[in-house]
Amino acid sequence: MADQSTSGVPIELRKVTKVFPGSGEPAVRELDLNIPAGEIVVLVGPSGCGKTTTMRMINRLIEPTSGDIVIDGRSSHDIDPDRLRRNIGYVIQQAGLFPHMTVAANIAQVPKMLGWDRARIAERVDELLTLVGLDPGQYRDTFPRRLSGGQQQRVGVARALAADPPVLLMDEPFGALDPISRERLQDELLGLQDDLAKTIVFVTHDIDEALKIGDHIAIMKAPGHIVQYASPAEILTNPADDYVEQFLGAGSSMRLLRLTKVGDIEVDQVPYASEDADAAEVLAEIERHGLDYALLTDGMRRPLRWVGAEHLQGLTGPVGSAGDPITGTLHHRMTLQDALEALLNADNDVVPVVGRRRAYAGALSLSTVQNAIQAIKIRERERRLHRGETGAGR
């Protein structure tokens, strides 16, 4: 396993099969899966389809009946299971914290096994508690039973990260939490992952959770095989078959809004100029666009004010302080759903879109978003028609 610790390593499952003794049907059947380094790959599917079994074969809590699992170029079969597992973080539902150990002792387990000295462990424990958003002074010496479900799960994540393993396995880690805690922990996990870039295999039966946190999603079907392995957007816009479509259920368009970023669609372009631009020139620009307003920006192209054609008529020299201040901006990394929400609440019909360093990147109106949704719907309808013609054999 890689020595350079903070970033993930690739994992490859090759024709992995698991037949439990005494059961006729395999729990996992000739499963191939390529998990790129530093990505979150979600295994999703209904209960009993083999997600947990697949995941537990990666750290050899379950031994595959046949096939091979290669972690960072090495067959996991050649690594001592206990040593293998100390290099793979493991998080399960309801955290699986040891109730008779303090929070600190729970987190310290793997570093202890790796023979770290006390001072280093204590330092690492505090660092990890801070990382998962728990105050070390307050929580270090408490017992798990005194923590809420969400806090326990944070400690669970901290324990898994203790020795900075390149790989993290998470089996329905947020499954037992209430929706608010779950959302928050999902967001925090994504935030952590931005910095840590671990290879994370995440099991869930909740498709929305999968779409939210997965870089890639493997949709599984009983008995233990993958029906589609693709990015969330690809799965939404192009489900492989009826099973996937059914699993996605209703509301795919809404999900697509949640998944599509403002930057992903074609935004409007409006004339923009800095405050010291000549008023007559700006007016000419406005007319060329066939509009009756322009955006004024500061020296770093950050939107400041809307200025209407009527403000500029008869004005000579620089535009100066004419126009009305903008009331809000949309960021190009916002989801379309959030943009829609903001547009519905905005004072103006058109809201500027900003990109990096809050610089002007375009503008968005309700009708533009509507057109984008329309395009998505049309694409979806075409796809369905297409499948109607070719899908007879499926």
């Binding site: 750290n59 809590l61 206990d82 040593r83 293998l84 597992r85 100390r86 290099n87 973080g89 493991y90 399960i92 309801q94 699986g96 914290l97 040891f98 109730p99 008779h100 150990m101 303090t102 387990q109 793997v110 096994m113 958003g133 728990l134 105050d135 307050q138 929580y139 408490t142 017992f143 798990p144 039973r145 005194r146 923590l147 809420s148 479900g149 969400g150 806090q151 799960q153 944070r154 324990r159 898994a160 396995l169 037992a176 939490l177 209430d178 608010i180 805690s181 928050r184 922990l185």
Partner: protein, 258 residues
């Protein structure tokens, strides 16, 4: 477990404090007082020759000490056998042997204690160690059964989590399973102790001494005072050992479980 919203700065309850220490020793003081009162009474009433032979201080303390030794050695033997056996019987394939072993141990427990002692005395010889062996056979079950039950009822997800983070099977046993099973195991040991204090009275039948000597003497010479003294001292000893067991349970049980 109910799960509530994860408010980061949610207050945590303080650890419950152990009760005031003198509350804990109060029962012990009562038991000691009863025992002392009994002994003082025997020293202050006129005694005949036979009674004097059994109710003088060196004799009483000698028998008490023998009684404690019988209990001590048999319990040590129980621990040495029952703990490893209980652990083995909850591992992997040996699990299948569990019903047979429990049946065997049950036989030891179900045989009338007197019968067991006499049987062993016939088979081996009269004396201290034969009594210890009988006591062992008679009081093995609670510790063995509780060790097995305690280990069996450890949440499998904790064992899974332990293995999942890279603990060896042995490490999971010592760091997770045994601590989690400790309350149940300790209560089994406590039962074993109390059981053997009572049963040790029978050792007197095969000349192994103990406070049972007072009872047999009291019965055979029809001296009720001797008989009652023996009974009271055995009861007091049982209560005191139970108290020590209870204290051990409180001190040794892992924290954070309640």
């Amino acid at each position: 477990m109910t799960v509530s919203t994860a408010v980061p700065d949610e207050t945590t309850n303080p650890e419950p404090r152990l009760g005031r220490s003198w509350h804990i020793v109060l029962p012990l003081l009562c038991y000691l007082a009863v025992g002392a009162a009994m002994i003082i009474y025997t020293q202050s009433v006129p005694l005949d020759g036979i009674e004097r032979g059994s109710l003088n201080l060196p004799y009483i303390f000698g028998r008490t000490w023998e009684h404690i030794q019988l209990v001590f050695y048999s319990t040590v033997l129980v621990l040495v056998v029952a703990l490893p056996l209980g652990i083995l019987l909850t591992r992997g394939t040996l699990r299948r042997a569990t019903p047979f072993v429990l049946t065997l141990v049950n036989v030891g427990q179900a045989t009338p204690a007197v019968g067991l002692v006499v049987l062993l005395a016939v088979l081996f010889q009269i004396g201290f160690w034969t009594s210890v062996a009988a006591l062992f056979a008679y009081s093995l079950l609670p510790t063995l059964r509780n060790t097995m039950v305690g280990l069996q009822q450890v949440d499998w997800r904790l064992i899974d989590a332990g293995r999942g983070i890279g603990m060896s099977a042995a490490r999971v046993l010592f760091k997770v399973e045994l601590p989690m099973a400790a309350p149940v195991i300790l209560s089994g040991i406590r039962t074993t102790l109390v059981l053997s204090v009572g049963t040790a009275s029978i050792a007197a039948f095969i000349g192994a001494g103990g406070l049972g000597d007072l009872i047999t003497t009291g019965v055979s010479t029809q001296r009720n005072l001797v008989l009652v003294t023996g009974c009271v001292l055995i009861a007091v000893l049982a209560l005191m050992i139970d108290w020590v067991g209870g204290l051990a349970q409180r001190v040794l049980a892992p924290k954070g479980l309640s």
